[in-house]
Amino acid sequence: MKHILVPIAALLAAALASPAALAQKKYDPGATDKEIKIGNINPYSGPASAYGTIGKAIGAYFKKVNDEGGINGRKINYISVDDGYSPPKTVEMARKLVEQDEVLLLFQPLGTPPNSAIHKYMNAKKVPQLFVATGATKWNDPKGHPWTMGWQPNYQTEGTIYAKHILKNKPNAKIAVLYQNDDYGKDYLKGFKDGLGAKASMIVKEVSYEVADPTVDSQIVQLQASGADTFFNITIPKFAAQAIRKSYDIGWKPVHYLNNVSASVGAVLTPAGLDKSVGLISTQYLKDPTDAAWASDPAVLEWTAFMAKYYPEGDKIDAANFYAWAVAKTMEQVLKQAGNNLTRENVMKQAASLKDFVLAASLPGIKINTSPTDFAPFESVQLIKFDGKQWVRFGEVMGK
């Protein structure tokens, strides 16, 4: 009798417990017991198609997550679509993902103009627009846009950090600035000027270039002629390499600050010439897998193994693939925290309560922190200097 009672009791207990367990499970469209639907918009075609690899690498990472059992037992159903970096197409695709595919959230839409185009729509629909792939400052607006969140350190924060470093180490510097004539360049420049504050007159020359320009050689010559002894270089990889090479070749040797966007050894310094890059100052928040300093780092090794198995056609010199891996891990963490309460509201709540979350991909001492009033996950960076072979970290972690 006793033997029979035990299983019956167990069954009863399970029957009594299960409604409670069921009650804990809460779902919005896109989430079920079996899967979580995540939408993604990337430029697989068009002028920014070089970034298309991010969407593919994220897909590869979620495949790995699924192979290992998914998140809390649910598989990720990752739906990635192409917008060709064209804002009207982004609107159409966001509507397709939200209204037709009924995804739980949008993850990593790429670029400032495409994200601007859907900013209002996503917030009106109350669907998370999470960890957008742009460094513009406006994504950190929990009051006005509580459904949108950035990820990387924003450009203004970084610009301010360079300004502070200059004020501290070279208070009489004569500064020359080269920037890309768009929101990205101007955001950096604004942060930089805010950081200089009353001393903004230290900037003796400001020159811009268009992303369609073939080279920035003439701009560099102009900046040299201004007599500046400090150079803040706000350029994307192709132009950064040109600027480093040209200023070296014409014998201009300022203290050279290079924005993080182009701080890749493989993609920028190697083509520019490693010997010509000695002394460059920049910032980092993620490890650079092309930097020899990290060759045996566990995170980089894990990433290399992941790339080999799940995304073998991906370029291992392209920092975008490392970035994709890191940001996908952040998404995974948020969904893990959300547990069985997979409502859009709870997803945002979990994204806004990352406390001292450490990504293995980020530099030592740099953590992700968010709160209901702080929608900027990365807010600190590490100053780095190039010694001819690799970036060397110096000073303490700066920022918040």
Binding site: Y44, V91, A117, K120
Partner: protein, 324 residues
């Protein structure tokens, strides 16, 4: 227009009217874009199909229309419906003025001049002295209009009907224009401009006006497109848009009014199908579609339908003749 054509139009119109109640809001939005593109393509078709002038820069007029609407709504609080005629008028003027010198150029040279306009437009929109109007690279976000008079429609459905109404007016006006004296003058210039001139057609004037009217149509489409998408930015109007318009009219059918609708359906939906088929090379798939269409339907969709109807009519006659 015979009775059968009127019946076909009435049936299609009825279908267009019930459509928003049969499909999701997202699809309704896509069909709104089809209507918008149809107006733009009709504009380009008036120029290229009926007047024989090739433009590779109509995306620029689309952009001007879109920005006119967005700036009026955002900076001056003008209601959305009032921005559409203004956008058309601005584009008529710009198109006419651009047409005056450009039309001294023939064929490929005009194509290059318009290409220059199309390719420079995104950068002009970023020009920093215009930034306080255009919002620079950030563009302008505009609010979605609500249905008026308490109509039991959601905003997507309302916008669809609004766009449909504008489209019908624009198509009717074009039909009226093209079958009249001016339309005949346009086609005469296309087919044999020396003969047209000899018959007393003021070719320079007609060509400039055609350019202006064509720009007007595209500008109206741009304004409607901006209202539907609720956002304008320079990156929305790159040179590719102009090329896509040209693709649309050729696929739809040159010198055909309904062809504009077929072309619009093609440029709206085929890129999406291509993207679903392959992430790695969506444009290669698009290219295959394009070659397929050009090869199988050399006179566009409208031309193919026309030939099919003609063949059916002939068959009908043949069948009837023994009896009669």
């Amino acid at each position: 227009m015979n009775r059968r054509a009127l019946i076909v139009i009435a049936v299609l119109l009825a279908a267009a009217c019930v459509l928003p109640f049969l499909v999701s809001n997202y699809r309704t939005f896509q069909f709104t874009l089809v209507l918008v593109y149809a107006i733009a393509l009709l504009g380009l078709n008036i120029l290229t199909g009926y007047n024989g002038q090739i433009s590779l820069g109509h995306g620029a007029f689309y952009a001007i229309g879109a920005y006119t609407a967005a700036i009026l709504m955002d900076k001056f609080g003008v209601p959305y419906w009032a921005t559409v005629p203004v956008a058309g008028a601005v584009c008529l003027l710009v198109g006419f003025l651009f047409g005056l010198p450009a039309l001294r150029l023939e064929g490929l040279y005009l194509a290059l001049a318009t290409f220059a306009l199309g390719v420079s437009m995104p950068q002009l929109l970023k020009y920093h002295h215009l930034e306080k109007w255009t919002g620079g690279v950030q563009g302008i976000v505009i609010a979605k209009p609500d249905p008026p008079f308490g109509l039991p429609l959601n905003p997507d459905q309302w916008l669809y009907y609004f766009t449909l109404a504008v489209m019908l007016v624009m198509f009717f006006l074009a039909w009226n224009l093209l079958r009249g004296r001016i339309g005949r003058a346009m086609m005469a210039i296309r087919d044999q401009h020396i003969a047209a001139e000899a018959m007393g057609v003021n070719t320079a004037m007609v060509k400039s006006l055609t350019f202006g009217v064509s720009a007007l149509y595209t500008g109206v489409a741009g304004a409607l497109g901006a209202i539907a998408v609720q956002f304008v930015a320079p990156d929305s109007f790159n040179i590719f848009l102009s090329i896509v318009f040209l693709v649309g009219i050729v696929i739809g059918g040159l010198a055909s009014i309904p062809g504009a609708i077929f072309g619009a359906i093609f440029i709206q939906f085929v890129p999406n199908i291509a993207d679903e088929l392959s992430k790695a090379a969506p444009w290669a798939i698009f290219g295959v579609f394009l070659i397929g269409f050009v090869y199988l339907l050399p006179y566009g969709v409208a031309g193919a339908i026309r030939m099919l109807l003609a063949r059916l009519a002939r068959k009908g006659q043949n069948n009837r003749s023994p009896a009669g």
